[in-house]
């Protein structure tokens, strides 16, 4: 007797009541009396607020024109931002030389792209030195006096490009320092360990603003009287030390995530300490710490705005200067602050999205 061939029935469609927008709304908006009440309250609040806000932001906003007199409509005066856009992005950098700022930004983007595109075997050998050289190359380009270009004093650097470049330059140089401090913290040498711990805890425990302040009032005292160190350079030193402490903690948690077997395997094939650390441990630490490194970068990027307290013309400082300009005394503070907030939000939010996606990719646990 021949067995009857098994033929599965075609799948039934899901019940009408569980799919489609109506079911979604029933589930997510109107699932209980309490939820219905909440939905109605929130929806009515949104309906009453959003049109007005959109109207102010977009529909009755002033978009075209060049002076404050052109802001005739009730809405936001975006002409203010337009008129000051060059200062907002480049500070007082001379008009003809702005290509140098753009070049630096492009070099930064290029090196970041390079580290993603390069094949794995070249990545560490090429991308790491490229990153480490980058801040100094940008410094040469922007300053210009050693390359035969018109020298531009650091007082003129500013705007959003300064926020980006100084944050990037700080975190890049903080990498080796932070790594060294993290190694010191878990080393067997008691003195080296206590020095590392002191450095890390000091720079993590001090408010960044106090550090900037020390950079501007105390650091000049530390150098010999005949050497005057540029203000921006002092800020950079401070930011590097501050970031190093945070990076050291990031790396420490990275070290903790590396299985002990990796160290033992490296020992067993006879690698020395630095070979083991740089060839076996470091690449894995970088990989697992990537989300935290990005989070730290977001933090330093937001902290660059604090520079306005010591009168470094970063983006917000430029806006505040523009607000007190006699041609623009119409009270455009809200527009200015919203614009700065929006730019920072775009940058930080996209970086935190990237961090989350990397974290998801790395997370191979089967929890829940």
């Amino acid at each position: 007797m021949q067995a009857k061939e098994f033929k599965p029935l075609p799948a039934q469609p899901a019940p009408e009541s569980t799919i489609g927008p109506i079911a979604w709304m029933r589930e997510n908006l109107f699932s209980s009396v309490f939820n219905i009440a909440v939905t109605v309250i929130i929806a009515s609040a949104l309906v009453s607020i959003i049109p007005g806000v959109l109207d102010w932001l977009i529909f009755s906003a002033n978009w075209s024109g060049t002076t404050q007199a052109d802001c005739v409509k009730d809405g936001a005066c975006w002409i203010f931002i337009k008129a000051w856009s060059q200062q907002i992005f480049y500070g007082s950098y001379p008009d003809g030389e702005i290509w140098r700022v753009n070049l630096s930004l492009m070099l930064l983007a290029g090196v970041i792209a390079l580290s993603f595109i390069l094949p794995a075997r070249l990545r560490n050998k090429v991308a790491v030195p490229a990153y480490l050289i980058l801040p100094f190359v940008c410094l040469l380009i922007l300053n210009g006096s050693h390359l035969g270009l018109t020298p531009v004093s650091t007082d003129l650097w500013g705007g959003f490009s300064l926020n980006v470049l100084i944050a990037a330059a700080s975190i890049i140089i903080a990498f080796p320092f932070g790594f060294l401090w993290a190694l010191g913290r878990q080393s067997d040498m008691p003195f080296a360990r206590s020095v590392s711990v002191t450095c890390i805890e000091f720079f993590r425990g001090t408010p960044i603003l106090a550090l900037f302040f020390m950079g501007s009032v105390m650091l000049p005292l530390f150098f010999p009287a005949d050497i005057s160190v540029d203000k921006l350079l002092r800020v950079w030193i401070i930011l590097v030390l501050f970031m190093s402490a945070y990076m050291a903690e990031v790396f420490r948690s990275g070290f903790a995530a590396i299985p002990k077997g990796q160290y033992e395997a490296a020992d067993s094939i006879g690698l020395g300490y630095w070979q083991k650390t740089l060839l076996i441990i470091f690449p894995q630490v970088i990989k697992v710490s990537m989300p935290n490194i990005l989070a730290t970068f977001v933090m330093v990027f937001k902290n660059t705005v604090f520079l306005l307290v010591i009168a470094v013309p970063e983006m917000l400082q430029v806006i505040m200067t523009a607000l007190s300009n006699s041609n623009w005394l119409g009270g455009h503070a809200i527009e200015g602050y919203l614009f700065v907030g929006f730019i920072f939000w775009i940058c930080c939010f996209s970086m935190s999205l990237l961090a989350t996606s990397i974290e998801k990719k790395l997370d191979t646990s089967h929890k829940n």
Binding site: L209, F213, L221
Partner: protein
Amino acid sequence: MFSTKTTEQLKLETRPSSTGAKSFYNNPKYRAWIYQSFLLIFLVGFFYTIVSNTLDNMAAQGIKSGFSFLDSSAGFDVLMSLLPFETTDSYFKIFVIGILNTILVSAIGIIFSTLLGFIFGIAYFSHNYLIRSISIIYVEVFRNIPVILQVIFWYTVFNSLPIARESINIGDAVFLNVTGLYLPQLVGEAGSGFVYGAIVMAIIAVFCIKKWAHKRQDASGEQFPVLWSSIAVLVLLPLLALLVSGVPFHFDYPALKGFNFRGGITVIPELMSLAVALSIYTGAFIAEAVRAGVQSVPQGQTEAARSVGLKESKIMSLIIVPQAMRVITPMLNSEYQSLVKNTTIATAIGYPELFTVFAGSALNQVGQAVEIMFMTLAIYFALNMFISFVMNHFNKRTELTTR
């Protein structure tokens, strides 16, 4: 027999240095000494250079050293002070006022950021799509905007409020205008000490009830409604004292006199904008921590709790929250510490906390950067250590007890 040596010992024995070493620098023990002495020499040289440079520079600029400036009169006024203050008071008084103002704004910030953080963190798990979205939008917007920008933004907003005559009036008790927020103040009269005493007694009683209930449950398995009895004690005892002593309290309402309000509690716009910005900013981070904490509790815990027959409300309070707190508490610790450090941004709007008033104004006049920065930083370290101490104590109670 089996070797009982550890891998480390075996490694040491097989190293060339311990099997008749050829050169001493291949011995890790000596190497460690050499490296560390290099480090020591470097550090000594580094600090020697810094100290000698600093002393030279200070001598050249005619800056005195030492802490004697603390006794001299400051000669400037502070915007807000919790202690009575005159311009002739000393720099030390300025220092104390700064510390108190820092603690005030930190405490307000910690309370409100925790409230906001827990509300929005829990809201993330709501069944309502709108509540969920609002929670996500709150976290993602305010976390990603520099806090100093938020402070300046709120300061601008509070500075564009109406003038005193056209104040926003809430029930003739609370007034909000460009010069600040005016709240009624509760003033105790003679006999109010009796009520305060009753409150203290009630708190002690609650602790006793809790301990006794715990003991009883351990012994007999019977539960006692601790929460309801505690609330009853906390409400009834002070209420009884209040009635017995004939309500020895009255409210001091702010009232418009001349151009401004008198009486009640005044919250200056600087304090308001700083507290609002710090609470919202830190609240976003705390909400994220709460979300991570709740998500860290495996689904199986809820299922297991259901399977042993716990009620849904008990599952949350007995199973989920204690486990989530293990993840949340360390994060709260670091968020509170960063909140205290972030109070320094007050200097952008001029709220007279420690950094603005001491490391700013006083330093400007005295010029003794090293001493003043040392004192300021010492206070921030002390405050952070205090927070760390309290939170670690709290953490110990929620921590997973392992071997």
